[in-house]
């Protein structure tokens, strides 16, 4: 894992958190959306908070795709879940939602889980082994065709 790869993982955390929070802020403006009012669902994109949220989620998506190109899904996902800790902080300090002691314990468990996964290998040993073999090119061509 190089510094640049950790930067991509940090981008995943930051942009997904910013995106979720901006969307939530925008949805609070527009109130409840009902299934009978589909046009409202499309118009909601014009709300500046929602638009910013979508931009953030696009940045998140680029980082996420980049990470998935060199790391296992089960490695990247714990790293992304650090965002939910950040969401809780923003919900607490930004939207003044209550955070109970149980929730704080949950936050600590998530942080511990993320640390656990991030400290391990980023790619399944099986795949790394296969990539090291000279025949890997033939294997991937076979898969691609």
């Amino acid at each position: 894992m190089t510094f640049r790869k950790y930067l991509v993982l940090a981008g995943i955390t930051l942009f997904s958190t910013a995106g979720d929070s901006l969307l939530a802020r925008g949805m609070k403006d527009s109130g409840s959306i009902s299934l009978h009012n589909i046009s409202g669902l499309l118009l909601v994109i014009l709300n500046p908070w929602v638009a910013l949220g979508i931009l953030s989620l696009l940045a998140f998506f680029s980082c996420y795709m980049s990470a998935l190109s060199w790391a296992d899904l089960t490695y990247v996902l714990p790293a992304t879940s650090l965002g939910y800790v950040l969401v809780a902080f923003i919900a607490h300090f930004g939207f003044h939602e209550m955070i109970s002691p149980t929730r704080w314990i949950g936050i600590m468990m998530i942080a511990a889980g993320v640390a656990f996964a991030a400290a391990g290998p980023s790619v399944s040993p099986m795949r790394g082994h296969r990539a090291a073999e000279p025949s890997s090119e033939a294997v991937s061509q076979e898969v691609n065709s």
Partner: protein, 126 residues
């Protein structure tokens, strides 16, 4: 009544995003290391290569469904319920799906990480 709406949105988010994650991860593994491809053949060639993989479009569509379910869910429930609840269950669903469909080696370390994160997210949802 609002709770039922929120939880059905959560269920849809889990199903759609687990499907999307597995499809996208599969597609990006076929693309190869994005950073190196960018350096070697430029951004447009990279984007072209990504878009030429059919499962990528399918994964995007699944993510789109998950995204709109999230919008519905956020308008019906609290940010601090909908996001953690869907996340924790998506997380477990993804670990199982990655093992079955992507043949990822989910060792003791990753199961522990998965359970800690999922458990933590459940605690946050209470």
């Amino acid at each position: 009544m609002r709770d039922i709406y929120a939880w059905s949105a959560i269920g849809l988010i889990i199903l759609a995003s687990a499907t999307g994650d597995v499809l996208l991860s599969y597609s990006m593994k076929r693309v190869g290391h994005v950073g190196e491809l960018w350096k070697r053949s430029g951004m447009l060639a990279l984007i072209g290569r990504i878009l030429s993989i059919p499962t990528f479009a399918l994964g995007l569509a699944a993510m789109g469904v998950a995204f709109y379910s999230l919008l519905f869910g956020l308008s019906w429930g609290n940010l601090s319920l909908v996001v953690p609840a869907s996340a924790s269950l998506t997380f477990v669903a993804n670990a199982v799906a990655a093992r079955i469909f992507l043949h990822e080696r989910v060792g003791r370390r990753r199961w522990l990480a998965a359970l800690l994160v999922a458990g933590g997210v459940v605690l946050m949802a209470i």
